[in-house]
Amino acid sequence: MAVSTAFDDIEIGTLVALPEAERDALPYGVTGLDSEGLVVVYSAAEARMAGLDRDTVIGQPYFDSVAQCMNNFMVAQRFEDETELDETLPYVLTLRMRPTRVRLRLLATSSEPLNYILIER
């Protein structure tokens, strides 16, 4: 049975199980953060949108050095406060220093070690 990998449908379990090549092929960006907020997963689409090299981003504190624009009560605080989270919200990022309207999907669940942020332009 085909499981949907669309931005709005994909389950956190599906995302975790997805091979890296397939994750990189998704039309939206995927970022996975560990409990410290360090970048563990940084998909190709995400690297392309931000204009950054994946290798330099992996291991960085995401909300401090890469995506400060989400370091407020609307995004970062949500991961701190909630262990179960699946919310989609309109947002504005500063990809390549330009204000860019995107949709974010915030995913967290207690059974998975990583928190995920999906970014659709």
Binding site: A50, G51, L52, D53, T56, D64, S65, V66, A67, Q68, C69, M70, N71, N72, F73, M74, Y91, V92, L93, T94, R96, M97, R98, P99, R101
Partner: protein, 434 residues
């Protein structure tokens, strides 16, 4: 070579992404040309439904003066403002922390290009406030030192004691001071935001002390920056009655250049001259504490210009600015000196009414409403008329906090808008309220 360039470009992006200061490049309309993540982190939560691609639109509620400061800056390049403070939160901040304050610097690079920086100075502002309080107490402890002029005042406001240092500071011989009513000797700069002398004494009586800072004049005509500490007199027969006050006056060396302009910039809205959010908040908190202490009535009016967006869209921002200025003049002129007229954001204003019950506040709101509706604004397209909607609230046991009263008045304002605008609402229209 191009690989080197690509690498440099990426490192530059990394640097700007990680920069702990907000950076924005924008054009004369406020449209954002470039912005880094730190800036968006601060600005997006303020944008509400407004265009996140326009700096002035995002700041319209919290700091509408930035657009005016930019528009009024006539030169092609230069610093428009440096460290201009933006009060983000009214009342306490999120989660009971200090209210958030941003410092903004605007630099014009060319006629069509400017840079803004934003930094979060919430912690510093909170420390400043606490330090100032500490300094006041410290000052009162060493008030015996010669350089501190001291007056002693009876409960009914007569000066019954004065030291030689007061003569050295003010130039007035002690025999011209003793026995005089205090308001003949001490001047108050109410235009610069100081409460009246009577209010200052009342605050000192309630809190134990009150600190005023303002320009004063010596008999030679020379101005000096004077810190005045009003302290309730700790003598008496144990009866809980006012026993008079001490006033400790200090001549503080200060550069004339930063003077009252700075104070005006800090307390009053650049465009309309109404009190700004910071000043409104401080005065509201002060009155709110007074309400807690003595239950003197305290009321609040919020007003919002009807269809203001249409005014800007049809007649342009300069006309919108004239509307706001004229409305501020009309309303301020109708209020008592003890009332405070403030601009909270874009086209939203507030009136703080101490010693005023809800009925009187509603009556005042209705007079303001009629006066606004009677205004005629001259525009290049001919005369323009506007209206405004009003919501009122008064401090009660159930709702006395700054945030609570603003929320209540805002709800009534919304109801007034909903009911057809150009009207005053003050009570819930739910029938079971009786």
């Amino acid at each position: 070579m191009s690989e080197d360039l690509a690498r440099d470009h990426e490192q530059l992006l990394e640097f700007l992404y990680a920069c702990p200061i907000g950076l924005v490049e924008f054009d004369p309309t406020g449209a954002i040309l470039m912005i880094n993540p730190n800036a968006m982190k601060h600005l997006l939560p303020l944008a509400g439904p407004r265009d996140p691609g326009n700096l002035f639109a995002m700041l319209q509620e919290c700091a509408p003066e930035l657009r005016n400061l930019y528009d009024d800056f006539a030169k092609d390049r230069g610093t428009i403002c440096d460290g201009h403070r933006i009060a983000v939160d009214i009342g306490v901040g999120r989660r009971g922390t200090d209210p958030k304050v941003l410092a903004c610097t605007l630099v014009k690079l060319a006629p069509d290009r400017a840079i803004a920086t934003f930094s979060d100075i919430t912690v510093q502002v909170g420390q400043e406030r606490r330090l100032r309080q500490t300094e006041t107490w410290f000052g009162s402890l060493i008030s015996g030192i010669n350089d501190y002029a001291v007056l002693s005042i009876t409960a009914d406001g007569t000066i019954d004691g004065v030291n030689d240092a007061f003569t050295r500071q003010s130039g007035r011989p002690t025999e011209d001071v003793a026995g005089q009513p205090v308001d003949r000797i001490l001047k108050v700069d109410m235009a610069a935001g100081s409460p009246s002398l009577c209010d200052q004494l009342r605050l000192a009586e309630r809190d134990g002390w009150y600190l005023d800072e303002s320009w004063q004049q010596r008999t030679t005509g020379e101005r000096y920056w004077c810190q005045r500490l009003f302290a309730a007199r700790p003598e008496g027969d144990g009866v809980c009655q006012p026993k008079g006050f001490f006033v400790v006056l200090r001549d503080v060396a200060r550069d004339e250049s930063d003077t009252s302009d700075l104070r005006r910039l800090l307390l009053f809205d650049h465009l309309t001259g109404a009190a700004n959010r910071t000043h409104f908040l401080q005065m509201f908190e002060r009155e709110q504490r007074r309400w807690q202490a003595n239950r003197q009535p305290l009321s609040l009016i919020l007003l919002d210009v009807d269809f203001f967006k249409a005014v800007n869209d049809l007649h342009g921002h300069p006309t919108g600015d004239v509307v706001l200025k004229q409305l501020s003049q009309v309303c301020s002129a109708m209020l008592r000196p003890s009332d405070l007229f403030a601009r909270l954001g874009g086209e939203e204003f507030a009136v703080l009414l101490p010693d005023t019950a809800l009925d009187e506040a509603v009556a005042m709101a209705d007079r303001l409403r009629a006066a606004v509706a009677a205004m005629v604004i001259a525009t290049s397209d001919g005369p323009l008329r506007i209206t405004a909607s009003f919501g009122c609230a008064t401090a009660t046991e159930a709702c006395a906090s700054v945030d609570g009263m603003i929320g209540l008045a805002d709800g009534h304002l919304y109801a007034a808008k909903h009911a057809g605008r150009n009207r005053v609402h003050a009570r819930a229209s739910i029938p079971d309220a009786a």
